[in-house]
């Protein structure tokens, strides 16, 4: 495979697509598929055949606004239809070339206007199981350019210049990490993609892996070239069977096209990727635990240093990045580091994908430039809190993050700003809560999650989370005292400072941030034995069913 061949494929796909007068794209992501997008697509095929029009019907990955599902987009006019079912197929087929079906049409201009799509640039435009669709949208061009025109150091320089930081949550500068692995000695190195999206309430990585799998593979291949690795692993959660099958198909297609394997593009560079399945352990998102899991062991973290960049898989230097980080690589190599660095804020460059869920009108995936105000995400893109309720808090970063109250909505989203208010960027879950959510109860929910997910290796996390849970349960049941609050704070500090890995260190965040911004709710629970949101049951605990 050479660049010329790549361009030929792209050209032939374009010619093929030009034969059609219309393109009807049907979103087949999990949310839409669970509402009958499959039947809808079949019905559309039948209806358009009957109408005799020249139409291409395409299955695509997630288009973003999942609450409007199942979604259909008609090109070239870019008309969006929401809540479409199989019975509407005929109406849509008949409308092609004429007036759009107004009853189904939805106006998403406000939703899309504020967004900038880099990672999701192909979402809703390609069939995830067709490599040629990806190639037609400049896919694998970055890989071949890097292989033929750039040195590994040149690639690392470009990534460093872009200012890209790890999208898994930690925000470690990606270029720096690549440089460390590249400098590490030894001829055997590994590249690992962390697709263990354990953060409940986040599904960006699933959408990328399912909707645009080649983008992840291309990013990994470029990374492997830059750091000098020849073998890659993608670690995917077992809860994402579709992602696994899409990635398997994508890997097979890439090998067939000679974009993976030996001597890619007639260069000495060889690279291949294997998929590894997770088995339901949140802690495996932590890099050392993830490596243990790939090696087929219990996913328990190890103390760092040595960092995986020096001693990772089987003791070899290993580069670990998140799905979204790899998804950013190809556009950066293609468009240059400057282009990427021009987006975003001072110290957080580029864009970030968020999974907007909870009590909000437009749930779904959004991609916004860093530095955008939370208020814009929630009120403009998200359409605000529905059913006349009032906004109370937004939770970012999953069980390791914190709750941000309404007063702070004018905060610009960046790694440092979120850290400063006691939350974290995390992998990108954004859960909106309204006045019907009790913050003490929410904190208890996260602590319970961390308690059950603690691997049990170090004591602060194993015992500390259980004690936090007991204290919070007491408060929720109206049996707490003011001393409990002080105890809770000191316990949180201890866990934060002494835990081994990220899971333990960040597990007190939900408690500390709710205590900071919603202390009056805790006090209401303790002093007045009353839950302001009416969630906690203050009477005797409900008998557990045997």
């Amino acid at each position: 495979m050479t660049i010329e061949e790549l361009e030929q494929i792209a050209e032939s796909v374009r010619l093929e697509n030009d034969k059609y007068d219309f393109e009807v794209n049907v979103c087949m992501d999990l949310a839409c598929a669970s509402q009958g997008a499959g039947q809808l697509k079949e019905a559309l095929v039948r209806a358009t055949e009957a109408s005799g029009k020249n139409v291409l019907i395409r299955r695509t990955g997630c288009m973003g606004p999942c609450s409007n599902g199942p979604m259909v987009r008609v090109d070239p006019e870019e008309i969006f239809y929401s809540h479409v079912n199989a019975s509407n197929a005929e109406a849509i087929a008949n409308s092609l070339g004429g007036e759009p079906v107004s009853a189904l049409q939805c106006d998403l201009n406000e939703h899309f206007d504020k967004q900038v799509r880099v990672v999701l640039e192909n979402a809703g435009h390609i069939d995830p199981e067709k490599i040629d669709d990806y190639i037609a949208r400049d896919g694998y061009k970055a890989l071949l350019t890097a292989l033929t025109e750039m040195t590994p150091n040149g690639v690392i320089h470009r990534i460093t210049e872009s200012g890209l930081r790890g999208r898994g949550g930690g925000g470690y500068p990606t270029g720096l990490k690549w440089g460390t692995v590249a400098k590490a000695g030894g001829d055997l190195k590994y590249v690992v993609c962390n697709g263990d999206e354990g953060d409940p309430g986040a599904f960006m990585d699933r959408s990328v892996m399912e909707g645009d799998p080649h983008r992840v593979i291309e990013g990994m291949a470029i990374a492997a070239y830059a750091v000098g690795a020849s073998k890659g692993f993608i670690y995917v959660r077992a809860e994402y069977p579709v992602a696994v099958s899409r990635l398997t198909t994508a890997l097979r297609e890439a090998r067939r096209r000679g974009l993976l394997g030996n001597s890619i593009c007639n260069t000495p560079f060889s690279f291949d990727v294997e998929i590894r399945l997770g088995a339901g352990a949140f802690v495996c998102g932590e890099e050392t635990a993830l490596l243990a899991s790939i090696e087929g062991r219990r996913g328990t973290p190890k103390p760092r240093p040595p960092y995986p960049a020096v001693s990772g898989l089987w003791g070899k230097p290993t580069l670990i990045n998140n799905v979204e980080t790899y998804a950013n690589i190809a556009p950066i190599v293609r468009n240059g580091g400057r282009w990427f660095a021009d987006m975003g804020s001072e110290r957080s460059k580029g864009t970030k994908v968020f999974a907007l869920t909870g009590k909000i009108s437009n749930t779904g995936l959004v991609e916004v430039p860093m530095g955008i105000k939370l208020r814009e995400i929630i009120e403009v893109i998200g359409g605000g809190v529905p059913d006349g309720h009032t906004f109370k808090a937004v939770q970012t970063g999953g069980p390791s993050g914190g709750c941000i109250p309404a007063e702070m909505l004018d905060l610009g989203v960046s790694y440092d700003a979120l850290m400063a208010v006691g939350s974290i960027m995390g992998s990108g879950g954004m859960i909106v809560m309204d006045d019907t959510s009790c913050m003490v109860n929410v904190a208890r929910f996260f602590v319970e999650f961390c308690m059950t997910e603690s691997c049990g290796k170090c004591i602060p996390c194993r015992a500390g989370t259980a004690q936090m849970y007991t204290l919070l349960t007491r408060i929720c049941e109206g049996k707490g005292t003011m001393e409990d609050l002080d105890l809770l704070v000191s316990l949180c500090e201890t866990i934060k400072e002494t835990s081994l890995c990220g899971l333990g260190m960040t597990s007190p965040n939900p408690v500390l941030s709710t205590l900071k911004y919603f202390k009056n709710e805790y006090i209401e629970h303790i002093v007045h034995k009353r839950c302001p949101a009416g969630v906690c049951n203050m009477e005797a605990p409900v008998e557990v069913l045997a």
Binding site: A33, S34, S67, F203, T363, L365, I431
Partner: protein, 143 residues
């Protein structure tokens, strides 16, 4: 096992394959896998018990999984779970005495935009209501 070249590090992959073929991992199968891959039985057992996804008990004929992710929780999945427990008289992770229905919780299936989510035998159903779920359970109970 052959697909992964009997590699020791493919233990988790192998266990996945066994579980999807037999529904659960019983003593015999864990012993067999451990011996075939030349890993200590203690490591194989340790891995099986560490990861939530592996089950030592056979599942019921049908499985009702309720997502316990944050978005689902905020939208009331705890009430769904409580209702299911009351209806079936079992705790999450257990199977009814007649072996018809297993009740499970999932950590997050990634369909958060349609919370609360339940999985009926692996099929995702979003924006679930209590009545919806109880109807499904009743249908299964008589099957």
């Amino acid at each position: 096992m052959r697909k992964n070249g009997f590699a020791r590090h493919a233990l988790i992959e192998t266990l996945h394959t066994v579980q999807s073929a037999f529904g659960c991992l019983d003593d015999d199968s864990i012993r067999f896998v451990a011996r075939s891959l030349r890993v200590p039985l203690s490591q194989a057992y340790g891995v099986v018990t560490f990861y939530h996804y592996f089950s030592l008990k056979p599942p019921g004929k049908h499985t009702m999984t309720i997502c316990a992710g944050t978005a689902c929780y905020i939208k009331g999945s705890d009430k769904l779970l409580a209702a299911a427990q009351q209806k079936l008289h079992i705790l999450p992770g257990q199977t009814t005495e007649d072996g018809q229905i297993s009740l499970m919780t999932a950590r997050c299936v990634g369909a958060c935009s349609r919370a609360p989510v339940m999985l009926c035998d692996g099929e995702v159903a979003g924006e679930t209501t209590g009545e919806h779920m109880l109807e499904q359970l009743e249908r299964w109970a008589v099957e």
